[in-house]
Symmetry: C2
Subunit: 759 residues, 2 copies
């Protein structure tokens, strides 16, 4: 693992103190002169036609400045995937789930806005509703979007290799079914937007808790019918997203709409219930996995059928169901794969991107089945994984280019660290170990030829100001970018400052999703830093009478490699540069586009999906309390190939968060509905694991140095979220001999299974 | 006059609507989480030793978070000119004028801070005070700064040519004395600062109503003892400065100090009295002008002695007294000049930069004396001015390089427009015409090798984002920069957006003073725009199979000059550029440094002071009410060579503001003190001219196209402030035959003079 002057160091997040002391400004902390407050009126029924909306009482309330319904705004839909846009900011004719936005009010205070919401009278004609995707795809099921012939709004049917031949050549073929539940991202910061409008210029500015300023800008332009170049999106501090803040929401549209109509700034803030119920959740998914293997456990063919419960709208539907398919192709060599995936509408809260985005569900099914198959055919589950592991530079059925891959090593390392040889099948009843593998891309594809850009300015006093498009949502993207620039310019971290994710000042970035930020925005920042370096080093080389290539820099000093005394302080270099009448700051620019062999539309083409791919194996040791059914995760080992960590502490943070998320998926969280009504939309009721439930954690770094990653880095944010749940459930099977096929594994389920087993 | 697609057009200020609707954010509009409010304790006596300060009662007041005195902060002085720094944020031992800062408090509300100020008990030992600069330079006068041997804190003694020889060769030598009063800038927005501090990084951020973020940054770093690269200065909207916001003030220091100490954001806002009394004012100045002329009125030698009343501190003292000297050398050819200037401390409010900065006082004296001499030797005052006018490309005694000069033409044009031939000396008693000439630099010198920089980004949707260091304080600098970039990129104004004067995101600029912004920051922006243009046009030229030089652009279209059909829309060009996998936005950069022949220290060297020079003549027609003594300005003509106006409407705005300012100086404003106490520090009492007093105004553009100015522009903000006062007083002389030598000419003075004349 590279440990350089700044890169590779355990540097605290650059905005840690501001966040801890409350000085950091999240969207709701922003105050503008004359600001108004908005609130949404939401559907109280899961499915129905809007008969009438009476806003007269709300409008008459003193302090109310405006009330709008779906009829007042353009008939334009928004969404992440252009062809799958299906959501109006405010419902026009129909409501499709409890909480669907029906009207919006704006007032001089939050309290008056809330009172006005209660005064809006909506009459509905209830329609039959459907709450399960398998029912929803039946003939005759109520149609959530009646303009479509089916509730299956997005589907993928994709074959790689020859699956029939693969199955025919298999010694064994197994088919198993699984279910993964709805879980919620539940970021600490709820969703908010603040908009202002300049009537003279037609300039619209929105501050929004968004992960993707670029998407928000486009969706606002097309729904508000304003030119895209008149929309500026500024991302303030964002208190977590995990995929939930990828989408545009009604709050964004309505804040802008009212700001434009009223000529005053308007803020919308979702309360915690709204954040839970009316944003996004992880898609509940039914999966059937049919796998053909030979006697040694080599996978010869696999067929997977997936039905994702999308709730009332598409959000990322086609993307999610596609990702779920393509990332079955790593970390195992599956030459013959048939995948059928369906995104199905129901009258429930909306599924969307969430850490792993369609893949944790599939990973749960596949990694569970590997354990089942290993047991059935009598091979070791670790051996089977190693046997099927892909390796760097292999030809890949989907066209991925895997330059570095530490997967096989991660399996053996994780197994060793959890004590596989000594413990698997050998611990007392109630204790067990299990593991699971995973892989993740570092950003997906060359999306619509979007570049990531950076501008790096080195000022006369040695301050480095970075402008980046990267949207830090708490994961530390800005810190990591600062580290790379600091390293390259030979300055300490404290000299580097960053402004990011403001479409009015910063270059473009595709946004925070798919774990692409470190590689994509990092490469851009590195290019910009190199541009500055080139200019300054050229000047210094003249002064020192050496070749530019011979120079190196660290700790605010530039010198000839190998001759530490032959150098200049950065301060002297800048002073000399300036007094030779060259303009300061030195402005460097960098633009980075994923390698050209990547497909520009991952929905229609195969190809190399990502600049590089992370690999990991996670191993759990659990204890099951046979009296209460409670499962305790005692230890979680992660053997992780994320390339070269730019900041090991932040990688650990991601790892720990992933383990928490995976434990939630495995054992705790369940955000499903009863008759369309989510039953636990609060931090109190939802029941996350907390710090108290965290196990002993061990992180093992499998060292690779990726040629496409800046300083050799790969993603570290999402891959580790994929394997903890199957690893835990595999360990439970080892502990009590029960093979759970649906999540979460609750104490009640454990007790019931133990009862059955006994009886 | 060039009228291009955007440049030369009457474009409204880009932030006009935001300001009119109240959405624009000035410093006091900013709100940060947990913000505290500060207030200063000020001296109640003009001169005295601080015996004791008891802050205990103030500290004990609930809600007070901190109280500091001069003993609590580093013993560091600040100021504009490094060698003349003399001001502590809080007085250490002595107070030097009424209002001198003695202590600062900070509390959870503005009201509590004000109450706490009243609870601070200061005991003084009063010292003899001095209120007049001519007394203050006498032997034995009380010393305002006892560490100096004299109150004359800055002086200049400069001779060009051979003055003795000039006088010897003269046919006539005249000596006359004049006095120009204290006037106040009185910007609409009072002075404010908001600071926050990040304890982890040591990052200090200040939002301040400043004209020069760069100076503020430096002064904060050296007085707070923090590294300069840890200070970020952001200039929000500024509601006027006129030179008064060039300096750092106690509010800036104290906001930062408390933010750093308390870890919470702190705001200081001056009330109107503080803005009047405790910031800066135009230096009252005594001037004696001795001029030798030949019989035709050609000036052969001139000796000027000036004593400026600096008040308690230096502020810009050495610079002001130097500028006052050098700009006597334009617009007239004065080959033999002796100048003796003294900046003198008194126990009064502090003099500082103000529109014209030391020159209006000198201009008043010189232009008055020209009229007096013309009368005495029997030549026409217009002829005398034309005869002595400098011309382009003349060798210049101080080394100025005058590439373009419309002065002589401005004199004749202004005279013609006011009806000189028909009216001068020929109107009925009580009516008269007069004129005066002036000139001003477009920014001063290559100060410390400071470059102006700009970054221009052209995004995929055709949005242009400019980053500039230019500090718009209401004059329209940002608008003018946007126009130049829009013109150069061939887009309408509405596509261009600017972020400026934030040392954390924008390149450096020297700041708003000396009328340098349009030329300096404009040239930088133009270079950056050309950098973008070069990149995009290169791509388009390939597509169109033509040479880059053959391309032109306007209205979002790029085409081959002369073949309008052979072109591409900007949108198509950007799309093609992007899909050829080049990174967007295109980032252009520009850095501009004044021409190399300029001196880098204007205090010690002669040389070409400015990239270029504006010239103007202003002519007034007045009516004097002989019953009341009231002078009414009926008409003011300005014949103006500001090169090519980028935005004629903004030039007119500057012109109108200058006339108002000049009328104030001539007839209305007087900010002098009684025993050190300013007697009219409010908008109500100060007595500006208002819209009701504005005369008929005629602007005549004398066309020049300056090679150093962007699009041929020169300054248009300060030069026109210089001549209105002498023109008005010259017209009064023509009207009633009274030669006033001190300002303002009040009704009482007029009546007294008429009485004397009669009697």
């Amino acid at each position: 693992m590279k440990v350089l002057n700044v890169v590779g160091q355990r540097v605290p997040m650059h905005d840690a103190a501001a966040k801890i002391t409350g000085q950091a400004q999240f969207t709701d902390d922003l105050v503008l002169p004359g600001m108004l407050f908005g609130k949404l009126v939401r559907s109280t029924i899961p499915h129905g036609r809007i008969v009438s909306i009476d806003v007269s009482k709300a409008k008459a309330l003193p302090g109310v400045k405006g009330v709008i319904t779906g009829k007042d705004i353009p008939d334009r839909v928004y969404g992440i995937v252009p062809k799958a846009k299906d959501e109006h900011a405010l419902a026009r004719d129909k409501v499709r789930y409890i909480g669907d936005e029906v009207a919006a009010v704006v007032a001089v205070s939050q309290e008056i806005a809330e009172e006005a919401v209660r005064l809006v009278e909506v009459e509905y004609e209830a329609l039959p509703a459907v709450f399960d995707p398998l029912e929803a795809i039946q003939e005759g099921a109520p149609l959530v979007h009646e303009n479509l012939a089916t509730n299956a709004s997005a589907s993928i049917h994709k074959e790689f290799g020859d699956v029939a031949k693969g199955f025919a050549e298999s010694d064994f073929v197994f088919e198993d079914s699984f279910y993964s539940q709805a879980v919620n991202h539940a970021p600490m910061e709820p969703h908010a937007a603040l908009a202002s409008y300049d009537a003279l210029n037609g300039d619209l500015t929105i501050w929004s808790s968004t992960q993707i300023p670029y998407f928000l800008k486009r969706n606002l332009a097309t729904t508000l019918l304003v030119p895209e170049n008149k929309v500026r999106v500024i991302k303030p501090k964002v208190g977590g997203g995990f995929g939930q803040k990828i989408d545009m929401f009604a709050k964004d549209f309505c804040a802008c709409w009212f700001a434009k109509e009223l000529g005053r700034p308007v803020k919308f803030l979702y309360d915690r219930e709204e954040a839970f119920q009316n944003t996004r959740q992880r898609h509940p998914m039914y999966l059937t996995v049919k796998t053909g293997v030979n006697k040694e456990g080599k996978i010869l063919a696999q067929k997977i059928t997936a039905h994702a419960d999308g709730g009332a709208y598409n959000s990322t539907a086609p993307l999610m169901i596609t990702l779920s398919c393509f990332f079955i192709m790593i970390p195992y060599r599956i030459e013959n794969l048939l995948y059928e995936g369906y995104h199905v509408y129901t009258n429930k809260p909306v599924g969307g991107a969430m850490r792993g985005h369609g893949i944790p569900q599939a990973r749960f099914a596949i990694e569970r089945q590997i354990d089942l198959i290993a047991q059935r055919i009598g091979v070791d589950a670790v051996d089977m994984r190693v046997k099927n592991a892909i390796h760097a530079h292999e030809p890949h059925p989907a066209g991925f280019i895997i330059n570095t891959c530490g997967f096989a090593e991660s399996v053996t390392e994780a197994a060793k660290a959890i004590g596989w040889a000594e413990k698997r099948g050998k611990l007392p009843f109630g204790r067990g170990v299990g593991l699971a593998g995973a892989s993740f891309p570092s950003g997906v594809a060359n999306m619509a030829h979007l570049a990531s850009g950076a501008v790096v300015q080195l000022s006369r006093e040695g301050r480095v100001n970075i402008l980046s498009g990267a949207a830090d949502i708490g994961q530390g993207a800005e810190t990591v970018i600062c580290q790379m620039v600091a390293e390259q310019l030979g300055v300490p971290m404290e000299d580097v400052h960053i402004t990011a994710a403001d479409t009015g000042t910063c270059p473009l970035d595709a946004g925070t999703f798919g774990s692409g930020v470190t590689v994509r925005a990092g490469n851009a920042a590195l290019l910009a830093a190199n541009d500055v370096r080139k200019e300054l080093f050229g000047f210094v080389a003249d002064r020192l009478e050496c070749a530019v290539e011979d120079l190196t820099a660290a700790n605010r000093r530039i010198w000839v490699k190998g001759s530490p005394d032959r150098g200049l302080s950065l301060s002297d270099a800048l002073h000399g540069y300036q007094y030779s009448d060259k303009p300061l700051p030195i402005v460097g620019r960098g633009g980075w586009i994923p390698p050209a062999e990547q497909p520009t539309s991952l929905l229609t083409k195969n190809g190399n999906f990502s600049p590089n791919y992370s690999f990991m194996t996670q191993a759990a040791e659990v204890e099951v309390d046979t009296e209460t059914g409670k499962v305790t995760v005692l230890k979680m080992v992660t053997a992780h190939d994320c390339g070269q960590p730019i900041n090991p502490m932040l990688v650990e943070g991601q790892l720990e968060g992933s383990i928490l998320g995976g434990m939630g998926q495995a054992l705790y969280e369940d955000s499903t509905c009863i008759d369309g009504q989510q039953h636990n939309p609060s931090f109190c009721d939802y029941g996350f694991p907390t710090m108290m439930e965290m196990p002993e954690m061990e992180g093992l770094h499998v060292d690779t140095d990726d040629p496409e990653g800046p300083f050799g880095a790969k993603e570290a944010g999402e891959g580790t979220q994929l394997a903890p749940a199957p690893a835990i459930v595999n360990a439970i099977a080892d502990a009590i001999g029960v093979e759970f096929d649906r999540l979460p594994v609750t104490p009640a389920m454990v007790l019931e299974a133990l009862r059955k087993k006994k009886g």
